[in-house]
Amino acid sequence: MNRFDEELKLALRREEPSPDFTDRVMARVAELQKREKPREKTGWLRRLAEFFQPAQMKWATAGAMAVLLVIAGFGVHHRRESERKRLAEIAEGERAKEQVMLAMRIASAKLNAAQKKVREIAVHEDRGSKIEDRR
């Protein structure tokens, strides 16, 4: 290295910036952090979006499908059960109706028989009195 190089090195030696340079940089860093904090608050949106990214999406879809299947199965079971109950109630009603009809038919038959008997007795008595009158 010759004298000229030495002169150049001396001329272009490092110099310090203003004494408050570091503080000013750190103040800007603090400002930057302040601005970044509200962004962190909305981080849940980012996490939600990330959740629906392919790898996680597979699990989410599988979970949702499982839940839907359980709900659908429960719905079908509930519907069948209530249909079965309704049919059972109708059948019960029909049976009760049949029994009432039967009871009424029996009662009617019995009434008819009694009425017939009463009529026969009345005819019989009427004939007896006519024979008595003739005598």
Binding site: E7, L8, L10, L12, R14, P17, F21, V25, M26, V29
Partner: protein, 195 residues
């Protein structure tokens, strides 16, 4: 024996310093503000001076240096080691200086048009320094940055080529031509001093 001990002590001290620099960098990467401030303090002279010898304006250089450190803060995760940090800072500062000069269309006076300082024996040394700085500032952007990195940062042409993504021969040619111009200009202005 004594020299060996002194050498060992120097090696130990150097290794200790590297360890500390490593620790500071990892703490800064973990979000430690004090550690980041230490990094700024450690490298501010380097960053500021590159910008200063490039722009020749203190306020502009401080703004540029601040931008470089803010950019560093935002990219700390990408810094692998203290050596990489130095390389990164020099590279980013160099690119920022060139970008800034292009955006603000800084006038680079041709070397022939640069004002020549008048030398008197009493102020010869300080004038020599001032003259060299002034003439360096008149060099075109890339040669100016190459000269600054060569003489301020003591980098060899290979390192400069790597830093500025420039072919080695271009760096060498920038250096050769810039030195010839500087020599001629300084000799003309300070005729009696052997340079």
């Amino acid at each position: 024996m004594a020299s060996e001990t002194l050498e060992d002590q120097l090696i130990e001290r150097k290794e200790g310093g590297m360890q500390r620099a490593d620790d500071t960098l990892s703490r800064a990467k973990d979000g430690d503000q004090t550690a980041f401030a230490d990094l700024v303090r450690e490298h501010q002279a380097m960053v500021f001076s590159i910008a200063h010898y490039f722009s020749r304006d203190r306020a502009t250089s401080e703004d540029l240096a601040q931008e470089v450190f803010i950019h560093l803060y935002q990219n700390l995760a990408a810094i692998e080691s203290p050596a990489h940090l130095k390389f990164w800072l020099r590279r980013v500062t160099g690119h920022r200086c060139i970008d800034h000069a292009r955006k603000h269309k800084v006038k680079t006076v041709s070397v022939e048009d640069a004002p020549e300082p008048v030398a008197t024996t009493d102020f010869r040394d300080s004038l020599m320094t001032e003259a060299l700085r002034r003439i360096v500032a008149t060099l075109p952007e890339k040669p100016r940055l190459v000269v600054t990195l060569r003489y301020q940062e003591d980098l060899d042409p290979t390192e400069i080529a790597k830093l500025l993504d420039m072919p080695l021969n271009t760096v060498k040619s920038h250096l050769r031509r810039s030195l010839a111009i500087l020599r001629e200009k300084v000799t003309r202005s300070m005729g009696e001093i052997k340079v």
